[in-house]
Amino acid sequence: MDDKSRNHQRPSKRQRSPSHESKSGERHKLRKRSPLKQQEESEFSFLDYKRNLNKIITYSSDSNTVVNSLDDFWVFVKKYEMTLKKAGKPIIDNECDHNELNDIGIPINFSKHHCINFMSKMKYMESVYDEREKKKLDKKMFDSFLNIVSIYLDFKNKEKFEKLKKLRKAQSELPVTKYRDEIVAAVQNEKVVIVAGDTGCGKSTQVPQYLHVAGFQNIACTQPRRIACVSLSKRVAFEMLTQFETKVGYQIRFEKSKTADTKICFITEGLLLRQMSSENLPNYDVIILDEIHERHLMGDFLLGILKCLIHTRNDIKLVLMSATINIKLFEDYFSKESAVVIQVPGRLFPIELRYKPILIEDKPTRDDRLDPQPYVQIMQLIDSKYPSAERGDLLIFMSGVQEITTICDAAQQYAEKTKKWIILPLHSGLSLTEQDKVFDYPPEGVRKCIVSTNIAETSVTIDGIRFVVDSGKVKEMSYDSSTKMQRLKEFWISKASADQRKGRAGRTGPGVCYRIYSEEQYSDMEAFSTPEVSRVPLASLLLLMSSLGVNDVRRFPFIDTPPGEAIEDALLELKQHGALTSNEKLTALGKALASLPVDVSLAKALVVAAASLPAHKLDSALALAAALGIRSIYTTRAHRDFECENSRKPDESDHGDPVTLLSLYCAWLREKSRGGGRAWCKRRGLEEQRLYELTKLAAQLNTLLQDNNLKEAPEPETMSSAERALRHGQMKQLKDMRRQYKQKAAEESKRRKRLKVDSWEIIDDKDEDNTVDIRDIEFRMTNDASRIRALINGSSTNSGRDLIMLKLVLCRALYPQVAVADEYNHCKSVSEQLFHTWSKPFVFLHPTSIFGKNPRLLQLTDADVQTDEPFGYKSRQPLSSKHQILCYLSLLETTKPYIVNSMRMPAAQTLLLLAHSIDTNIGFTRLVCDSWLLLEFPYPESGLNLLMKAVKLRQRWEDLINRRLQDANPNKSVESELKKSNQTKTSYEELQYELSCDISSYINSDIYYTIKRCLPGDLKVMYVGPDEVHPTIDPNPFEQGFECRPHEKKGGVYVTDNIVFNCVVDTDWSYKSYEETYSLPWTCPDCELSVCLSPLERLQHKEFTCSSRMEKKDVQKKPIRENKPNTKEFECETCKVTLYLTPVEILKHKKACK
């Protein structure tokens, strides 16, 4: 049949000639057709007229289904013509048009076109020819074509209709659907409703819709994870048929899709909390807290806040949604508010439970390594017991990433042998594309083996799991508030967790759960997991509480009250930071810190930076705080792969990890400005996603600083018209790329990808390099070339002074998180380098840190040590001007306690500037910092001079920060207004400049001293004690007007809030040195007065009586600089003057100077 038709098709195509045209033109008039014409008609195809018909379609209609999918339409036409041909029907139909209707208006003669509701209104045009421009399409043929268009429209409509029906059917089959009326009625009538149902019951997607349909207008629904906010809002918008509107939106850390039209908003717990301060709370009529069983810190706190809120706000309904875990706890917590509980049973199939399916020896293997064999054996067991034709994947729960890798490696070997498995790791450290792989389909006869952390317990739901293997372990962070150390430790899971894990096997059909542990072990497990509030740092939370108006955090109605010491330690930390006053009232600083969504210490770094750094250098602090505030930018490969380590070398900074982060970030920005990024990151073992996050967080922090008046808004950038045009073009191109990407992604998401059995990793690598990177597009949309340049300039710390200031800003914020080297480090190996912090002695350098890899950077060389000691001075500690301490971000205990993210600082200079308490002997030769580190300055006056400089700098710095905070929260009293008008203030820029010059010369001071850690035994004999009476010091050279008072325990007197004078006992050498100083006449360097004075008296002379004092002040006046934000320090080569000028002014100056 096929052969035949082809046989007479071929010649006929060649036969086409002008003569046919005229005949076909007449054809519609003819009733009878010659055999030749019939044959010709069977050859006819509208496809031959495609080009001209397309023109008509696109000209004549503004927009519709056919225009939108021309290609698809022609595929349809082709198929349709084929079907007609097969059925032996003509393509140009000649059904007569006359419609004779019966008594109820139904045409008597059947026409298939009557079955189509659609009509197309395209107009016939005379000029339609086939591809060779030979045959004309007549009106009748055109009408036939329109009929096909109508059939196509009808076909498409049915497709979409079926899609809608399928969606509605799926919704109606969700377990929660049966409870719709009950839930709606409960929310309408009660204040608090608890909906308990397991994942998959549909509560997260349906309940917000139910409430919206029931008339609620502003629904907030919290999620613990950002990702869930985005995906839920997309899903719910789709189900509400509003995916192209903003009725359903989301709001997460860096982005929101919420508009004024938004009725349902998915929001992270943290963001909703920040809205809770009364002036910020949007007009929600329902607040839904989802996944409250996860017991995250923010979720728990929200529960408490809302519990209080609904007593004052009658217009807000509270809906709590949880898995069926510990519902009693929530019910009891809201018993006063008489919460109604609605339980939605999940869809769970029977699960066969087997303990210890493989005989495992209980004795630990060598060096405590995890033995993957039992897990591989279970895979073998599944292979032997269940035919591979029966589908069903395997989910293995392990405690952490390392364990997952171990299992994956062993399982991969087994999989390579059998070709029956695809091994996929799953943990939150993976990129989203990597995580998404667990949802793809394996080929026929192959099972997925997903090795996961507890992320797959409740947060990620994977369909098709039939087998679950539970290791019974989880790695969890705990926190010791007294040492401020986090511990990552492996624990047995709770019964609730074990049951959740088991339940994953029965979601799509009957399943099997293998528990590696024994039934006794199960019965020994805790009923529920420890909530986060009992195992994380609380300082940020308590600060947030305080800023939200919680007066006594100790009496806050937590669902689980955190340990008392943890609260006390966190409050102490906040007081040390100056965020709370001694009676726990929020300070101006505290208010500023609470507004920044990063850790308290990083927030403090930003506030300090906003006061201390010039505007154009603030970017460096923003980038630094953001870099430390996000997850690690390093991939797991970064520290294992020699190539990665090597290619990062040029950008590493021997100042420490934070500076290295900043330097890598700048290098990445430079790479971005050249158009690259992804490959660059890969080569260095960096996660580019994190660098995008860093950029976004820095920008967000910048905005928050501006919003809180801690930073002036920058002048709008001036672009030339050419630049503007260029940027406009770029933006257009980027937007196009983004649109294309989104379309492609939408198409791709429709069909889940099929996994390949072999080497999935390599295939993926190729894919990633070729595809468009949406994050890159978005990065380029928000950061044009000049912005990137500004970021690089702002973030890099080329000059020594910038770097010193930046390091000190961070150090000031982190203090007292400093560590001092053990005195025997010089004779120990790299991995044994010991350090001591104030709260925690004996900690190690993290092996991946800059100093962990190169601890020599922290040690004194022989040349650094002064061997020619002053007469009479003896010490076991080396005398040097090069002692260093480490300032660190955090302590983390894994196998050992480690210092994480550290930075080296000159010891004495840093301590004297930042220590909370400094105790000194009478001669200022022995200084004890924070009752912990003893500094000895054997050269006369050297300790005194350094301390004096530190005191003055500390005051100036403090004043600058306070001024910034005061300007941010102007006190509108008449008094302060008067004050303001009376004094013309020196500009920030000037103060910042002078401070940075003086600080950098102070930090570089070359002074010899020893440093020693004081042990409790040392401290017992360190102080004079309160028995001896000390005269007050008047006048007080340290702080004019400060009233000296004795220290109750140590003895001596306070000369500033931080310094206690004359409380440290003298040793032989220091006493002798003091005597000597006193007995020799001293000559004032400024006024040539020569007289015997004690060190303190000398100070008093210099500060109060020296005749040169008045003159000095005048000399110090510096030329007034303009304070435009884009000024730079510029040293003119011609006139050798250092000026502060904008780039334009620099050019002007250069011209003038010639």
């Binding site: 209609s61 109820i104 139904i106 189509i116 509701n117 659609f118 009509m119 029906k165 048929l241």
Partner: protein, 113 residues
């Protein structure tokens, strides 16, 4: 019939559509034969029309859900289980009641399904 409604007003006015056979219940944006948001498409019989919820707006894509039965006047959806279309929309109940009035080609389909 509100065929003359200007475009922007159409966004606000909605017509509730509920199939009397299967219960499908949706808000539609238009009822009639020439949906204003897709000018080149005309319908033979007044129907409940939605702007296509699965396509971006402004593309003129529409979705017809159903119409009122030409005999009994009850709303029915276009699903084969609920209605047939033959120049007009007829609910299956009415078709069954007057089988002889329809061409065999039409009623055959009903019997089959």
């Amino acid at each position: 019939m509100d065929e003359s409604k200007p475009k922007d007003e159409c966004a606000q006015v909605t017509y509730n559509f509920k199939c009397s056979e299967c219960g499908m219940n949706e808000e539609t944006h238009y009822k009639g034969v020439s949906p204003p948001f897709s000018r080149k498409i005309q319908l033979k019989y007044p129907s409940y029309v939605m702007k296509d919820p699965f396509s971006p707006p402004g593309k003129g894509e529409i979705l017809i859900l159903g119409a009122d039965c030409a005999i009994c006047g009850k709303a029915v959806c276009i699903s084969k289980q609920c209605s047939i279309f033959y120049l007009k929309t007829y609910c299956l109940k009415c078709v069954q009641n007057s089988m002889d009035k329809f061409p065999a080609e039409v009623t055959n389909k009903v019997k089959k399904s």
